[in-house]
Amino acid sequence: MIWRRRRALDDLDEDIREHLARETDENIARGLSPEAADAAARRAFGSVTRIKEDTRAVWVPIWADQLLQDARYALRLVRRSPGFASLVVATLALGIGLTTAVFSVVNAVLLRPLAYRDGSRLIWIVTYDDRVPLIEVVSAPDFVAFHDHASTLERVVAFDVSMERVTARDGVVATRVATVSSDFWDLAGATPALGRLPSTNEDAIVLSHAFFESAFNGNATLVGRMVTVNDRQVLLAGVLPRTFRPQLPAPAAVSQLPPGEVEAYHATTIQPPSPTDLGVRLFYVIARTRPGVTVAQVKSELETLRADVQRAYAKLPSAPRLRVTPFADVLVGQARRPLLILFGCVLLVLTIACVNVASLQLARASARRKEVAVRAAIGAGRGRVLRQFVVENLLLASAGGIVGLLVARVAVSSMVQLLPYAIPRLTETTIDARVLTFATIASVVTALACGIAPAAALWRMNVQDALKDGTRMTTAPPRALRARRALVTVELALASVLVVAAILLVKSLWRITAYPAGFDPEHVLTLKVQMSGPAYRTPKRKRAYLDEVLQRAGTVPGVHATGVSSAAVARTRLIRQDGRPMSILDRPIVRLNVTSAGYAAAIGMRIVEGRWMTDAEPSAVFVINEALAHRYFPGENPIGRRLLLPNGPDPARAIPVPIVGMVADLRIADLESAIEPELFLDYRHGNPFAMTVIVRTTGDPLHVAPTVRAKLAAIDPTQALFQVKRLDTALIDSIAPRRMTLTLLTVFAGSALLLGVIGIYGVMAYSVAQRTQEIGVRMALGATRQAVLMMIMTQGIRLTAAGVAVGAVSAAGTSRVLASLLYDIQPTDGASFAVACVGVAATAIAACSLPAMAASLVDPVVALRSE
């Protein structure tokens, strides 16, 4: 069709020329002179242009033709003022780009369905005890009961994530292994890329694609052979496809694992323990409900099943409460609120970008009054003129949208690279069809929103007045300038809101990372040892290994203190020897940290009372922290009191252990967690398992890290050393979500401020340019340069003050939504507000000073002569 049109229209000119030539020939033949013949032919034919237009209209609808004209005209305008166009495109690209970036994260995290089959029917089941924070798991007997008897559940899967030692191509690597029960494959919808999935009761592992590539070089011949996991031969059954990346939450409070992706899956079967067995395995449990079953129905059935389990295992300690949550909420629940807040903030940035563009266009609209008036005078209807503006805006906004998409791409990939685990599912972020649709809608809405103010200004314009104006405009139409001032006030107000928010978050981060004196994480190296395998079954063997670790690490040059502490959270019942008798199950539960004599010096603990443990304690001693003393020894001196340390299942054999010292509370793992009451016990008298080795150095810990690593690896090459990190890095990683929010919000606030400053600068510069003659007159009549400077500055300061004041009030009204992101400060923290307002005001006033200087430098002679 288009091709036919092109062909038919192509030689219309030629066709008409031939027509006229023939008519002329005939006229000549009829006896007319060539000139008269030509004139007669043209007269008979009529308006060539009109006929051409009519003919074109057969093929192309008139509106499309006009649209093309409008677009061409808009492009011409862009070429004529590339500065204006690029400023508008850059502003829109920033606004649309940031908004699209945040939307693509929202899309990946909150909108896209989970990477599981029937993800909406998945639930997360935990049992917990109010008195023991953060421990939310399911015991083996409960799991077996749920799995075998729950009629509301279709599939029930237990899993656990831990670091295991896998012997790979280049030696032993610490590997993140998920131990999964047999229904996992069906629940996750897994199909192997190589090999097969393990069958029930089979001791086999399946590798993630990425781990298979990195650790085994992607060597397919290994599939079906045995590999060594924790010194044991296990069948490598298969490899999962690259796309299989299920999210398995592993709460750090229990697993003590940094966030990351599962590298291998180990199939396991879960047997109920015998009712007399006191040891109990704990798991995380995901289940898929039957269609149409509600969470409440599941919960009530599981409660019934648990009651039976408790009767059968009366001796087992059991968490009293049960919670059933939709799995999606568990996975991303914590991220929802910060993400929505960020999305709200980025929409403010987009609004500021729109306002800025509208203000720029208002300025141009008053410069273009003449042009528009001429077009109106020669017959363009208001609708046609308006459409021209809409087309212009759409053109600019689509350019802004395209550049914005590039901005979004860069923003998303740098976010994923910098903080991949700050938000669950963040690594799934891509620019998909939904994101593209969003960007398109954002661009169109932006184009229309930016066009409203200038279009309204032109709509009201009186054609005659505009044409009557001199060749140069002497005064701006006051209404347009007033509108621009109002827009700038809005911009500055919105920017102030964002800057307040950013400063509140920055201050929270400062509060969190305000380390107590003596705690110097920049000079501490931490690494983890697991002491797993048959060689480390007994506490005695583990103690011997730790003796070696401390001795060898201590001899490395540059190391001046070494210590160990429990890597995983262990807890014990606090039993005072002098306490009143009570059932063991009612005793409070506190953290038990198995540690060493050098630990206090290595980590930088402050001793408040008494002393720390030494290397030569003849028998066990306890050190407690202040939190424990405040909670369990209120108003008394805890030093010298005795606590009972359980020694096997028989309470009668518990050993009384004296408290010898008290240390200040210190956060050394998760910066945002609450301080728990904690007991410290020497590893020589306690039962160590996975341990963190702490090495304090004089210089940068990373310089001694290779030596420490080599020396410790030599003790037992089968033991993997993992998470070798500077403590400050580890601590910063523990607040990754906060850093992500903070970084983004700072970028938004910075962009908003930049746009606001450009906005106020533009208005002021424009107003000075408009008033050049007036300023010339004032100077000619005796105004000093200083007076002119002050006159313009006053104007700028008034605008700024209005914007910042409105912003501060709005921020005070809305900062409550940030409460969940703040740490140890109020959402209406006065100092933060003051810093933000002063900062915004100072920047804006600095921007005003440039046009004010320009005004004061006006040469009255030149200004007056230019009339």
Partner: protein, 111 residues
């Protein structure tokens, strides 16, 4: 031929006349115009302004097509010709027209 005797074409009949005049072979726009005027005994006057839009309308509908040729005095020219589809359409339209003209004639005939 005085202009008073000429009649403007009825709406929609130009298409029919163009196709009819193309039955005798490809022709240039000017030739088509002349042919219609001549065959009507100079009674019908083709508005030149509506000729080209009409030709393009017919091309768009696929009833006529065009080819390039050289005119008698050696200029490049566009020759319009009837397509097979156009030929069929012409038959339909001619018969419609005849029915219409006959009906109008019967109505107008004095009783």
């Amino acid at each position: 031929m005085s202009t008073e005797e000429r009649l403007e074409l009825l709406q929609g009949t130009l298409d029919l006349l163009i196709m009819q005049s193309l039955r005798r072979g490809p022709a240039h726009g000017h030739t088509i115009m002349q042919a219609i005027e001549r065959r009507s005994g100079s009674v019908l006057h083709v508005e030149q302004g509506s000729l080209y839009p009409a030709l393009h309308r017919l091309i768009k509908r696929g009833w006529i097509s065009f080819e390039h040729g050289t005119s008698e005095n050696n200029r490049r020219a566009k020759y319009y010709k009837l397509t097979a589809k156009g030929l069929k359409q012409l038959a339909v339209e001619t018969s419609n027209w005849e029915k219409l003209a006959g009906a109008i004639a019967r109505v107008l005939r004095p009783a």
